[in-house]
């Protein structure tokens, strides 16, 4: 097990290297001069041309791109992600400050998505072709199709404006978590529910389920112990990917709900052409996805005994 984990960690290195190069290249290809943006913000007026050149030198933007990348990579390997052009604070510090805010939404949203999706998917599979199945399929299609900005505004209008149950936006009491969490959760919940349904249907048609039924096991146990457990393996993979996306930051939801998380930080960085921050965020998102995927893979051993047995067999 530890060897497997170590291999996965080692494999992450070239992945992250490629990702960092891609992020660097894309940021530099994007139109807009970070020096001009920075100066315009600081001076509170369109920046004078001569000053822009001076700032380009100060920020090191006048150096060849390869030199810039190699320097950045060297610093990043030492844990220094550079200084934000916009805030003049270390990128790692800025990201560190925002992580708790994003987690405050991402974790409850992921759990909520799971709590909705798995029961809905299972019920839908068990009642295939009947009313609950139709309802779930329509609801999940709607949930997966609705753009989050539209859904957010719709939820605000209903729960905050008409019913006055929760605040429109901003962090505050426990009620302030309701709308952003629900908005974030509904999309993944819809997709996961459909996914759970299909894996569940597949599992229910498998021989071992038929055998369990033939042995006279109660239907509840057949579903819970045999079908669901196997159906959850691909669901866990998909859930991991979605969780990683949530942790990496939800740009639109954080903007609308005034949540100072990583998504808003990324959006601001792109708008400001804050290259160090963009690169730092892409690297962070890459590490997050890789780590969560690794954890998901490791979690298979808990869900599926065959993985444990297989690992032992290989070890033997």
């Amino acid at each position: 097990m530890s060897g497997y984990a170590l291999r996965r960690v080692v494999l992450m290195v070239p992945t992250l290297l490629g990702l960092s190069f891609l992020a660097f290249g894309l940021a530099n290809l994007a139109p807009g001069d970070p020096a001009y943006q920075y100066l315009t913000r600081v001076l509170n007026q369109p920046a004078p041309a001569a000053e822009v050149e001076r700032v380009r030198e100060e920020l090191g933007l006048d150096r060849p791109l390869v030199t810039q990348y190699v320097d950045w990579l060297g610093d990043a390997l030492r844990g220094d992600l550079g200084v934000s052009y916009a805030t003049r604070r270390p990128v790692a510090t800025e990201i560190g400050h925002r992580i708790p805010y994003t987690l405050q939404l991402a974790i409850p949203a992921a759990l909520l998505a799971l709590m909705i999706a798995v029961p809905a998917g299972v019920v839908s599979a068990l009642y295939r072709g009947r009313l609950p199945d139709h309802v779930m399929r329509v609801a999940s299609l709607a949930g997966a199709s609705l753009p989050s900005f539209w859904l957010a505004l719709l939820l605000i209008l209903f729960f905050a404006v008409h019913l006055s149950l929760v605040p429109v936006a901003g962090r505050g009491g426990i009620d302030s978590y309701f709308l952003p969490t629900v908005t974030l959760a509904l999309g993944p919940a819809a997709v996961l529910a459909r996914f759970t349904r299909s894996t569940m249907l597949e599992a229910l048609g498998d021989d071992y389920v038929r055998t369990a039924r033939a042995k006279g096991l109660p239907a509840r146990l057949v579903v819970a112990r045999h079908a669901l457990r196997n159906a959850l393996i691909p669901v866990a993979t998909d859930f991991g990917t979605r969780l990683a996306h949530l942790v990496a930051g939800a740009v639109i939801v954080e903007t609308i709900f005034v949540w100072p998380g990583l998504g808003k930080l990324t959006l601001d960085a792109v708008t400001e052409r804050d290259f160090p921050m963009i690169q730092g965020m892409v690297l962070f998102a890459g590490v997050t996805v890789a780590v969560i995927n690794l954890l998901v893979d490791l979690s298979y051993t808990l869900i599926d005994a065959r993985v444990r047995v297989g690992t032992k067999a290989v070890a033997a």
């Binding site: 994007a30 139109p31 807009g32 001069d33 001009y36 943006q37 100066l39 913000r41 600081v42 001076l43 509170n44 007026q45 369109p46 920046a47 004078p48 041309a49 001569a50 000053e51 822009v52 805030t87 003049r88 604070r89 957010a152 505004l153 605000i156 209008l157 905050a160 404006v161 006055s164 605040p167 429109v168 936006a169 901003g170 962090r171 903007t255 609308i256 709900f257 005034v258 100072p260 808003k264 792109v270 708008t271 400001e272 052409r273």
Partner: protein
């Protein structure tokens, strides 16, 4: 029902009961007292602002001052809502040739930490602080610029000839901070409100300064909440989460009014204008011909644009400096009157003749232009480009709309001259009427302009000649005349810039909010006289 709503209803009921039980009185002072009694002096006003763009580090730190001005920090002089410069921490000032301004400071003023405001603390907390900024800030200060004359008199000399210092000092970035305080974490100023708390990207809270040198603020507390999304800001107002909101979208004004909210419209403080690429290379070289530029300016019905696109919440002014700032000289800027026939004649004379599909052609080339939109964002500018597309089609011009996601990519295209027309919203936040024309269009000696705007829309040597005295003219009325004449050259004669409309600042608020003065420059909103009635 939420607690805030319950408290509001309870207060209204109490107010009604109190009114019903109260007896009549012949004492004229009672009216004032009753009026004051209706104001809740313990109230907190929750304000929905746009984006949190405070800078928290280095010499440019501006927490609480810019762009959301919480009135913690004060300037020597203040820009009122008629674009006039009025005394604040300085009671008076005078120009001393060749390049010095002498300020006589108000006595008896203290910073929130108890330090006295005098020439020395103003030197340290204002001029020396600004001198540490890049280029010495807009006022071009150096560490030697400020000289203490006596306890309450200070001289300021900019590093370059700059007689616009007083007009520039109104900007909240040029506020006085208590020496030794940190403008990035806890601003200590002299204003009617003192800093309480700041949560980045979320809110900033200030409370009444009970020791304020002037009349005290009517509100106990102000909380500025940041809503980058304008729909969320609007919904927060409707839900009662905030009491007042900045930048109400024009389309939502009527809806808010019908729900009982108060809409406050400022005078013109911003503009929507088109910068024409007058120096482009093929395929962006069509507007090198001044006749084509003039034809476009004459072929757009600004009134229709105001009524149809901007919901009537704009003017047809053809300057990009607010008319109030130009004063009587505003009429010098003639602009172009809507005249389709004359516009067509100009295009005919320029050799552009109607083709088979109605689009004009010259030497086999179609009269096709690109309109770039994206400043401050394409979303804000919409649907003006579509309107212009229809208008120009009437002239036989095909217009392609190019939307850029943000101002950086917009200005990148402008810098590379890749586009024919660049539409943007801009604004005037200080009293220096020459600021925008010089910054954006001047290319003469000592130009410190952006190069980006000049690259496509510099009106040329005559404009430079006309605007140059603006840098060194001490008399404000004369300055207005100079700037207006130069702008007329750019807009009417050379038509390298085409202002479409003057734009109002629109604020929305609950009907319980009183005394709010809608400032055309939202950086300079004063919260001193704002109150809330009821509980």
């Amino acid at each position: 029902m939420r607690p805030a709503a319950r408290r509001l209803i309870a207060a209204l009921v109490l107010a009604l009961v109190a009114t019903a039980c109260g007896g009549g009185s012949d004492d004229p002072n009672d009216d004032v007292e009753n009026s004051s009694a209706r104001l809740n002096l313990d109230a907190e006003l929750r304000i929905g602002f746009t984006e949190d763009q405070y800078i928290l580090e280095g010499p440019d730190a501006n927490l609480g001052a810019y762009p959301a001005n919480t009135n913690v920090v004060e300037t020597l002089v203040y820009l009122n809502d008629r674009y006039e410069v009025v005394p604040r921490l300085a009671e008076s000032w005078e120009f001393r040739a060749p390049n010095t301004w002498r300020f006589h400071l108000r006595r008896g003023v203290r910073f929130h930490d108890g330090q006295a405001v005098n020439a020395q603390t103003i030197k340290t907390g204002l001029f020396d602080r600004v001198a540490a900024k890049r280029n010495g800030g807009t006022i071009r200060a150096t560490p030697q610029s400020a000289v203490v004359v006596d306890d309450y008199t200070i001289d300021y000399t900019a590093s370059v000839p700059n007689l616009r210092v007083v007009e520039q000092l109104v900007h909240p970035q040029n506020g006085a901070i208590a020496p030794g305080s940190d403008h990035g974490t806890k601003p200590v100023g002299t204003g009617p409100f003192r800093f309480v708390d700041y949560r980045p990207k979320e809110r900033i809270t200030v409370e009444r300064n009970e020791d304020y040198w002037g009349e005290k603020a009517l509100l106990r507390r102000l909380t500025f909440r940041f809503f980058p999304d304008r729909n969320a800001r609007l919904l927060a107002l409707q839900a009662g989460d905030i009491d007042l909101a900045y930048e109400i979208p024009r389309d939502d004004v009527a809806g808010l009014e019908s729900r009982g909210f108060t809409i406050a419209k400022s005078t013109v403080g911003a503009y929507r204008a088109i910068f024409m690429n007058s120096y482009g290379d093929e395929p962006y070289d069509i507007l090198r011909d001044v006749n084509v530029r003039k034809a476009i300016a004459m072929g757009i019905d600004r009134k229709k644009h105001v009524d149809g696109v901007l919901s009537g919440l704009a003017t047809t002014d053809q300057t990009f400096v607010p008319p109030a700032a130009l004063g009587a000289a505003a009429s010098v800027v003639k602009g172009h009157t809507y005249n389709l026939n004359e516009a067509r004649r100009l295009l005919d004379n320029a050799g552009w003749r109607a083709g088979s599909d109605g689009i004009r052609v010259k030497d086999g080339r179609r009269l096709k232009l690109e309109l770039v939109s994206g400043f401050p964002s394409a979303e804000v500018i919409r649907p003006s480009p579509t309107f212009l597309q229809a208008e120009l089609k009437n002239l036989g011009i095909e217009l392609e709309i190019v939307e850029r996601p943000d101002s950086a990519s917009f200005q990148d295209l402008m810098g590379r001259k890749q586009g024919d027309l660049f539409i943007e919203d801009g604004n005037q936040n200080d009293a220096n009427v020459g600021f925008l024309p010089v910054l954006l269009l001047y290319t003469g000696a000592g130009s410190s302009g952006t190069g980006v705007y000049q690259g496509i829309s510099a009106p040329g040597p005559r404009f430079n000649q006309l605007i140059e005295p603006a840098l060194t003219e001490p008399d404000h009325a004369r300055l207005q005349q100079i700037v207006a004449t130069a702008m007329n050259e750019a807009i009417t004669e050379q038509t390298t810039v085409m202002p479409l409309n003057g734009v109002f600042r629109i604020y929305g608020m609950k009907s319980s909010v009183t005394g709010f003065v809608p400032h055309p420059s939202f950086l300079n909103v004063s919260w001193l006289g704002v109150g809330v009635t009821g509980g």
